[in-house]
Symmetry: C3
Subunit: 133 residues, 3 copies
């Protein structure tokens, strides 16, 4: 049983894809677990976690598509109706992700990166990480 | 190793977001595991599981956006073409979720709740839950 | 601790939903774990993993809806702007899934199947599978 790690990521823009693959890799190397599953969870409602292709410019493609995807409706959300779509998109993409590692290396596709999707930044975002052997 | 728990939730409307956070918290407290991961899975094809912000009225915002999001096409689905979009949306949001807990407390963002998305209710929905220490 | 299994699936069309439930069931039966969680991860950025209803014709309904869902924009992605939407959709549906099994049987809804969503095939797709007891 590995202990729980909290990874804090400071995002720098209102909308952003942040590659956290190297930070996750560091946590795996710092642990004593060589092979297993790395569970990730983002403890927020205007950000999500997934994997993505980050070929140059593609992060902006993602963000443009996310914005166009969400219907423009007369929303009720009292806190700030303008950003309810950020909540909805976060729930659709989802807050949890599981990746695998073997011999301390994360197993990803050739262009696959672990990313957090920031939809209401800039902010400090808390990602919980736990390794299971 | 914790045993498998089946949580049955009776939904009360055709479309609904149901907050199951307190029920999941009860299962964690009733277990002997203080810190770990809580895995959830919904065994249905017209409902999904995720986290959401449930500020008053926001549940309706989610449901309105989900309905507008899905394209109106001439679908083939023989069982009932009208509700094929419920299947598709369920698959996109996804049936599985992992949350973390520490000292018997689920670790969530300030406004983050664990929800099931009911898209073809009212029904009894089965959620499988397992705690990993 | 179960060892890591790599499942290779050859897809046969550009866009396709492939039912891998029986292959996952075989892996569970071949293991010595009777009850637990089966973690799945697809190591690609133009394919995703989820559960779906596969009533005849419904796979095509999913693919039609996915195509209509994605906004037509002037994308930047330098590798091939035409398929950036395949990356985006893969990230939204997600690369990881957790299912439960009991007495060597996967616990799914009546019509629920484990599927990979192929968005840029035909290809060999690698799915990592690990059982946790």
């Amino acid at each position: 049983m590995a202990s729980l790690t909290k990874l804090v990521v400071k995002t720098t823009a209102r909308k952003q894809l942040v590659d956290i693959t190297d930070k996750v890799a560091d946590i795996i190397i710092a642990s004593k677990i060589k092979t297993g599953i790395c569970q990730l969870f983002i403890a927020h409602t205007t950000a999500a976690i997934t994997t993505a292709d980050l070929d140059p410019g593609t992060d902006k493609d993602y963000l443009d598509a996310f914005e166009k995807l969400m219907p423009e409706l007369s929303y009720r959300h009292s806190h700030n109706p303008n950003h309810v779509v950020d909540h909805i998109l976060s729930s659709i993409i989802g807050p949890s992700l599981s990746v695998f590692f073997e011999n301390e290396q994360i197993i990803l596709g050739a262009w696959q990166r672990i990313v957090i999707v920031e939809l209401d930044g800039p902010r400090e975002r808390n990602i919980l990480i736990r390794l299971i052997d």
